[in-house]
């Protein structure tokens, strides 16, 4: 049979796996972003006064340490990290989601911190001069102004997660990795190439759907005044 026939006859399975892939990425990115953004908000207090000791020093420590730690995690090959979690959380969806979440942390945290700390100081000073409390400044001025950068970080991390999720299949994680892994392990058998090709193609489709989703979110959440 040709590729089209293959797609049609396996449409139910393919559709199910695509859906699963989409969902697992959505969940992991969602959790990872939430953690990173909240953490970023808590520790982005700017440069503390080197001459005085204050709580800001703890924030700086957590921030820089956090960035280094999550960056280090990113260098671990995903295959290895999935395998490392096996004895802890076993096979299946849980492990896949946990590992995927770990990989989303660095990019989003980095972008959150960068976004928050590069907001124009004049704007923050004028906000303070108008009577904005620190918390209000953080939430109504810094965060919205940092949002385009943060959103971009989430967008990038999503694309990376789509690829990493494929590897999750080795620990029986959900998604299109199942199709790809199956195809690769049976190279030479019937339809094996079609499986690989379908898996790859549908990853691109998932990426495209996410891109459209982010474009809409961007349009809706970024005011015209700061739209690039």
């Amino acid at each position: 049979m040709n590729f089209l026939d293959y797609l049609v006859s396996n449409s139910q399975q393919i559709f199910f796996l695509t859906q699963a892939h989409f969902l697992v990425v959505l969940i992991a990115v969602g959790i990872g972003s939430a953690i990173s953004v909240v953490l970023g908000l808590a520790v982005s207090t700017g440069e503390p006064d080197p001459r005085r000791f204050s709580l800001d020093w703890f924030a700086t420590g957590i921030r820089e340490g956090g960035l280094v730690f999550t960056a280090a995690l990113l260098t671990v090959p995903s295959l290895a990290l999935f395998a490392l979690f096996l004895p802890l959380t076993g096979l299946g969806v849980t492990t896949a989601i946990i590992v995927l979440t770990v990989y989303t942390l660095y990019t989003v945290l980095r972008n959150t911190v960068a976004g928050l700390t590069t907001v124009d100081r004049a704007i923050l000073e004028s906000a303070r001069g108008l009577g904005y409390s620190r918390l209000r400044r953080l939430l109504t001025i810094q965060l919205p102004l940092a949002w385009p950068v943060i959103l971009n970080g989430i967008r990038v991390t999503t694309l990376i997660s789509i690829s990493i999720a494929v590897v999750g299949a080795v620990v029986q994680g959900p998604g299109l990795g199942v199709l790809l892994l199956n195809g690769i392990s049976r190279i030479g058998a019937a339809n094996s190439f079609y499986q690989v090709f379908a898996g790859t193609l549908l990853c691109l489709v998932v990426a495209a759907v996410f891109e459209i989703f982010f474009a809409i979110v961007q349009r809706l959440t970024i005011p015209r005044g700061i739209r690039v």
Binding site: R52, S126, G129
Partner: protein, 353 residues
């Protein structure tokens, strides 16, 4: 009214105070210009009034109330604050920017909307056009106007301005300064204004406070600072040209001008009074007769009576004329000012002005 009593600021690790033992009273409804070279403490002083910088010692009183130790954020909502780069929030519309403090104070939406429109009118921007725009769609001058509008929004009794027109081109700056004076005539706020431009200080200030390395060197009316500098520092700072700059403080409306005649009354024209030829609207067109002078060869230059002697000099130099006809709002001749009057002593109608 703003009172600074023994206010001092010493940064940790410094031996020299940034501001030392300052006693300053800014009277109700007046504009006091804080001026001095870089690092003199003028901006530090300004920021201590609204406690953006905490004083190391001393007291700050606003309208008799000691605000040295109250909550800084709540205090600042009652004080207007304008900075050089405007500091408008780029993600808020113009209307939202203006309404920032009223919103924090809990005003209802309708009242905030009306207030924003009222202020847009006050600063010369059409509300329907500008209220829904974003800061980046506005020019620098327009942004600064919004900055001022925002500071006025909650109608604070006191305003602090930190070189607000410093980053604007000279032509727009001139216009903004004129409009600012107009607005002050309407709202009568108590204002502390930091500038490094002596011209601006003389033009806008009711009083000038000259600072040098943290100390107040002189605090007096612009005229006094220019003509009676308190010490060598002030006199060096004011620099040469004080006598010329002083001309901008003399309003033509306060002077006794030489009489002028229009050619309708040509009957008495040979008695030493300059005669002008006027057009149908009564505006001077050329000189008909100048006592001891060449009427035909002298350019006709005019200056409005609302201007200053400085404007008259400017006009005379521009037209290479040794006299200028002072005209009223409709352009009709009111009197004449001679170049020689400048050194011969200008006579004012009021005594000791």
């Amino acid at each position: 009214m703003i009172v600074l009593e023994g206010v001092e600021k010493i940064y940790p690790g410094s031996t020299q105070p940034a501001v030392s033992q300052l006693d300053l009273t800014i009277p109700q409804g007046e504009i006091v210009m804080l001026i001095g070279p870089s690092g003199c403490g003028k901006t530090t002083t300004l920021k201590m009034i609204n406690r953006l910088i905490e004083p190391t010692s001393g007291r700050i009183l606003l309208d008799g109330r000691d605000v040295t130790h109250v909550n800084g954020d709540t205090l600042r909502r009652e004080i207007g604050y304008v900075i050089q780069q405007g500091g408008l929030f780029p993600h808020f519309t113009i209307a939202d920017n203006i309404g920032v403090v009223p919103k924090m104070l809990g005003w209802d939406k309708q009242r905030i909307r009306e207030r924003a429109d009222e202020l847009l009118h006050l600063v010369g921007l059409e509300p329907s056009t500008f209220r829904d725009r974003y800061p980046r769609q506005l020019s620098g001058g327009q942004q600064q106007r919004i900055g001022v509008a925002r500071a006025l929004a909650a109608d604070p009794p006191v305003m602090l301005m930190d070189e607000p027109f410093g980053a604007i081109d000279p032509i727009t700056r001139d216009r903004l300064q004129d409009e600012f004076l107009e607005i002050q005539r309407t709202v009568g706020k108590t204002i502390a204004f930091v500038t490094h431009d002596l011209q601006e200080a003389v033009k806008l200030g009711d009083k000038i406070a000259v600072f040098a390395t943290g100390r107040l060197e002189q605090y007096a009316a612009p005229d006094t600072v220019l003509t009676q500098p308190a010490n060598d520092f002030v006199s060096d700072f004011v620099g040469g040209g004080a006598a010329v700059r002083r001309l901008s403080l003399l309003d033509l409306s306060r002077l006794e001008l030489h009489p002028i005649e229009t050619d309708e009354k040509a009957a008495g024209s040979r008695n030493g009074t300059p005669v002008v030829e006027v057009d149908g609207a009564g505006k001077p067109v050329s000189w008909r007769h100048l006592p001891g002078g060449d009427a035909a060869g002298t350019a006709m230059v005019t200056v409005p009576i609302s201007g200053t002697v400085y404007d008259a000099v400017d006009v005379m130099l521009d037209g290479c004329a040794s006299l200028v006809a002072v005209v009223d709002e409709e352009g009709r001749a009111q009197g004449v000012l001679h170049w020689n009057d400048l050194v011969g002593g200008l006579r004012t109608r009021e005594r000791g002005a």
